[in-house]
Amino acid sequence: MRGLLAGLLHEKNITVEFVPLGYADMAAKLEAEVTTGKVTVTVVGGLATEIDFFASKGLLEDLGKFGTLPDRTFVRTALNVVDEMKNRYGVTAFAPWMTATFLVVVNNRAFEYLPQGLTKEDVLTGTEKWTWDALVAWARNIYEKTGERRMGLPAGAGGLLHRLLHGYLYVSYTGYQSRHFDSPEAVELWNMLKELWKYCHPESTTWAAMADPLIRGDVWIAWDHTARVVAALKTMPETFTAVPVPRGLNSRGYIIVLAGLAIPKGAPDQDAGWELIEFLTRPEIQARVAENVGFFPVVEEATPVIVDPGIKVLSAGVSRQLATPDGKAVFIPVLGGKAGDYVALYREAFERIVLKGEEITGVLAELRPKLDAIFTELGIEAP
């Protein structure tokens, strides 16, 4: 990042100090600075959900006042999020910066253990045979033939398992992330997951990211965010293949993640901040970012320019996922301060149903009202 920003110094004589912060620290800092009027941050970069939280508290400038960014086409899905926030909060809260998704990374050895009726081609192109049930059969086959559980999920503290639940499984089985939380299709989902868990590596509950388990060879099939597997692909690009996620009863649900750049209200050097935003959204710079952090460009002109072999593999997987005919792309619901509670409900469901073995319909019935309460309070429809 710092190397990249040196380019901006060279070109426009703007020095940028790059400060990586965890989200909780960033939120505390921003709130403190903006409310006291002593802002030290010119540009803040974060996930769209984080930026939504800041915008909901009125902490951001309206970027509309700076004009438009020339010579680049932002992907439609990114612009939709900007528009949604504009409707909700009245400001153009951010400029799209990078995008990512979650997919499946397979150690090529695993292809020797494909179950009956599933071919590598099915998996790569995402045919109707590549289902979550087929994945269960695959993991079971590996277990029966090798005695080891080689499927892995990021179920640890800081892991993104909840995204799998609401953004992938629920969409794939019920068509929605939360609207049909306790439907019969949802029960099917949880039954499948319980079965899959039998063949998942037990240390999954300690993993926040799948890169290391993949590199170590503990896991042969992993589901995770592109940024959390990129280290494995860059280290050993010939060992792995990135493939689209399986499908469920309803569709092949997957999440598109968006990161953006915003300017805090009352920030110093705002014009320089806008120059920085212009710089970071240029196609060549976008390609270089993709090669380094496992997040992908938001401008269409950037994709052809990527060179790194590991990123190429990952990028191929992302493209395949985005190209599946039955793919259903969703965004992480934008819930402001309630995001933590939303996620906690899905994680609680996982812990009680899959880990503790509680009865499915009972747990779902108990948690459903709490989920609905979140949407009622926010005044939005269940996603």
């Binding site: 640890g156 240390e203 509950t205 300690t206 503990d218």
Partner: protein, 278 residues
């Protein structure tokens, strides 16, 4: 006495008092405010939380395992290092090194040692003792994970207790020990009737300090146990960082504080050094 002479003690304490009020008192008042204020105070949510039982249980298990073990180890290590042998200072130095390692680094170290493809399992499989790895981590192995957490803490922090006990031991007048020898006391009798009573103040200090820190362990628990082993302190982090709810996090912090105060008070009452001088 002039006014200045009478006021001097208070004036000397004033800077520390101001510091404490500003940097400890104000944040403390703020946290208490967040925990107790409002029509639906966060503290109630904590008291009636379904997570409280498990958190309290795991806290108790970890604290009750770590502290006695560390105390015993520290006392025996102190007695050991009291003797003069060649290379003693070097061994002492090595013994204290883990103190320099951060909580999280220590946890990552032990994770690497105990994970299914880690050092211990590879070694045992190499010599043929086992053919399948032993799992220490994972939801179904929580009791073993607790063991790993306890081991990590003992490895890392026994030196803190040791340093305090060792200093206390060195202050015991040799004449008492020599008198005990003259009376023909065995090692265990000496320990029980001479050494331990004279060590009481140090033990008390060590226990208070160690318990205070033991109740704040979060790093190793998150690293080794994921989200599935909960103690009171990890709940504070969880509610602040992951649930974005500072009020409930404050309430849990108040609970941790209350437990710490209670235990501290208990130590002071039980271990007050009356009767030591007899």
């Amino acid at each position: 006495m002039s006014f200045l002479r009478r006021a001097a003690p208070y004036l000397l304490v004033l800077p520390s008092l101001v510091y404490a009020l500003v940097f400890t008192g104000y944040p403390l008042a703020y946290v208490l405010g967040m925990a107790f204020s409002g029509r639906n105070p966060a503290i109630l949510e904590v008291i009636f939380s379904p997570r409280l039982g498990e958190a309290a249980l795991f806290t108790a298990v970890i604290v009750a395992s770590v502290i006695p073990a560390q105390l015993a180890l520290a006392i025996f290590a102190s007695l050991f290092f009291l003797q003069n042998f060649r290379g003693r200072d070097l061994v002492l130095y090595i013994f204290v090194i883990p103190l320099a390692v951060s909580e999280v680094a220590a946890a990552l170290l032990w994770y690497t040692m105990l994970s299914s493809s880690g050092f211990l399992n590879k070694a045992l499989m190499r010599i043929g003792l086992i053919s399948r790895p032993i799992y220490f981590f994972g939801y179904q192995f929580r009791d073993r994970t607790l063991l790993a957490i306890v081991l990590t803490e003992i490895w890392r922090a026994t030196a803190i207790v040791f340093v305090i006990i060792y200093a206390g031991l060195q202050m015991i007048n040799r004449e008492y020990l020599e008198a005990a020898d003259v009376f023909g006391m065995s090692f265990w009798q000496k320990l029980r009737y001479v050494i331990l009573p004279l060590l009481k103040p140090s033990i008390q200090t060590a226990l208070v300090i160690r318990t205070l820190f033991a109740l704040q362990i979060v790093g190793p628990i998150f690293v080794l146990g994921g989200e599935y082993i909960r103690v009171l302190a990890t709940e504070v982090v969880y509610w602040y960082s992951m649930r974005l709810n500072p009020a409930v996090a404050s309430a849990w912090a108040v609970l941790v504080g209350a437990v710490t105060l209670a235990l501290g008070g208990l130590y002071i009452k039980l271990l007050s050094p009356k009767g030591v001088m007899q």
